[in-house]
Symmetry: C2
Subunit: 280 residues, 2 copies
């Protein structure tokens, strides 16, 4: 690991690192916020945050206003990048924002040329937590959240790995990617034309298949410009009903897809995860 | 005024506007946060925020995490841009970050070619408040704060206009610009070689000259990379002692010049201003 930068914040530390990742076969960058008093003797649990299209590891740390309460709660936050990057990593030939660099969709790609680097699912589920838990004063208690593409990622990662996360939340998630333009474009390129293979990365499909015990919280603004065409939270609600799983979906009048929406309700999500992490 | 964007945030509204400004002779952009329930019947006081070098009206609103408490307190926040801008507005010929575009230093320039547009002092003191008070549900009670170059601006504007602001605060201000590289470069270009004319824009000089009744709060990190060469808060402390003026300077162990420092202590500044604005 190589330290990129360090800032003191809310009595804790905001750190950025790069490291050579085996899952994505390239150098990856991530951000960590460590609350005050986190130490080997007093390790803290970790909230993983997955960001949306075009973001890096930095957006959430700069814009969400999450460090304030995380510092009080004694919770670390880890935010990975949204895709592999580097000269060697292929990008969409049209340079579009919704596929390729900055748009890894938290899947393990199976199709060339994407399959060499685009393994964000394994990176997020396995490699990153292993690295974090080996190098920082944290416990093995984890929660996961995210926004938009990262909300999709958090839901999929949490639903498929309930033994690894105590709670899952999402802001404005792409809730049914097999049935929206962003999802179809990304999944067809990363996974190929067999739509059966897409289902393992669709939160609504995963949720509908069995009863899940993991606590789920979703926040959504009703003025979100992507709500109807791309996000489709009603698919998630329907799936939760089908499988008799507890899901809390809060719709908010007037809020859009921006970080101002996340900032407005991040404290509720931190408190939700803190409750399940045993911090409050 | 032309609305650029609107986002709901913390139950209030974050708005960006452009307007044709007479003081700066160009189109200016500003940001406004209006707390919930602000209305013509229940107007709210305004905290003006002046940003630092290279910033726009957006940085503070996106990164400081100030809206959360401002919404609770019932305080509007207005953030102007840091310089005039546009094709017609001259920039430093070397494109440096510390002079010209993004670096108006909150002065009224007297030297060509800067004197046609670089009148940020009058824009901040007169034109912008007049516009805000004519168009938004706000009172005429004002406080002012800022960061770095904007901390300098807030101190100068507040000390020179104690009848217009109830309280002044600053994070990491350029406290003695006539005696630091950033200040000397900017003031010599905007005001010419007569250093006597610079003094009207130097907070330490202004503070030393007479006893000031306006409450002053300054926050500074001791790991700030610009502390020794550019910021010089001890000049401000010395001037306050000379003039027997109350100044609170809080030094913070380990904090740097970034927005993470501002975010860490913005709530204390909002509470300070809220007290003087009669909100708490």
């Amino acid at each position: 690991m190589e330290l990129i930068s360090e800032n003191r914040a809310f009595g804790g530390r905001y750190l950025r690192y790069s490291h050579s990742a085996t899952t994505t076969n390239c150098s990856m960058t991530f951000s960590v916020f460590l609350p005050p008093f986190a130490s080997a003797e007093k390790p803290v649990p970790v909230l993983y945050w997955l960001s949306g299209l075009t973001c890096t590891d930095q957006n959430f740390m700069q814009k969400a206003g999450a460090m304030r309460l995380a510092a009080d709660l004694g919770m670390a936050i880890v935010a990975p990048d949204t895709s592999p990057r580097g000269e060697d990593v292929p990008d969409d030939e049209n340079g579009s924002y919704d596929f390729g660099l900055g748009a890894g969709f938290y899947v393990n790609a199976t199709q060339a040329p994407w399959d060499k680097h685009y393994h964000m699912y394994s990176y997020v589920v396995d490699e990153l937590p292993e690295l974090i838990e080996a190098n920082f004063p944290v416990t093995r208690e984890r929660a996961i959240s995210g926004h938009s593409m990262g909300g999709h990622g958090a839901l999929v990662v949490g639903l498929r790995n309930p033994n690894r996360y105590v709670s899952v939340s999402a802001f404005s998630p792409i809730a049914n990617p097999i049935d929206c333009p962003w999802g179809k474009k990304a999944l067809s390129h990363y996974l190929g034309d067999d739509e059966q293979t897409w289902q393992q990365y669709d939160a609504s499909v995963l949720l509908s298949k069995q009863n899940h015990a993991i606590p789920l919280l979703v926040e959504q603004g009703n003025k979100d410009e992507f709500l109807t065409e791309q996000l489709k939270p009603q698919a998630l609600v329907h799936a939760a009903q089908q499988s008799d799983t507890q899901l809390t979906l809060n719709m908010h009048e007037g809020y859009d897809h921006s970080y101002f929406f996340i900032a407005s309700f991040i404290d509720e999500h931190l408190a939700f995860h803190a409750g399940h992490l045993g911090l409050i």
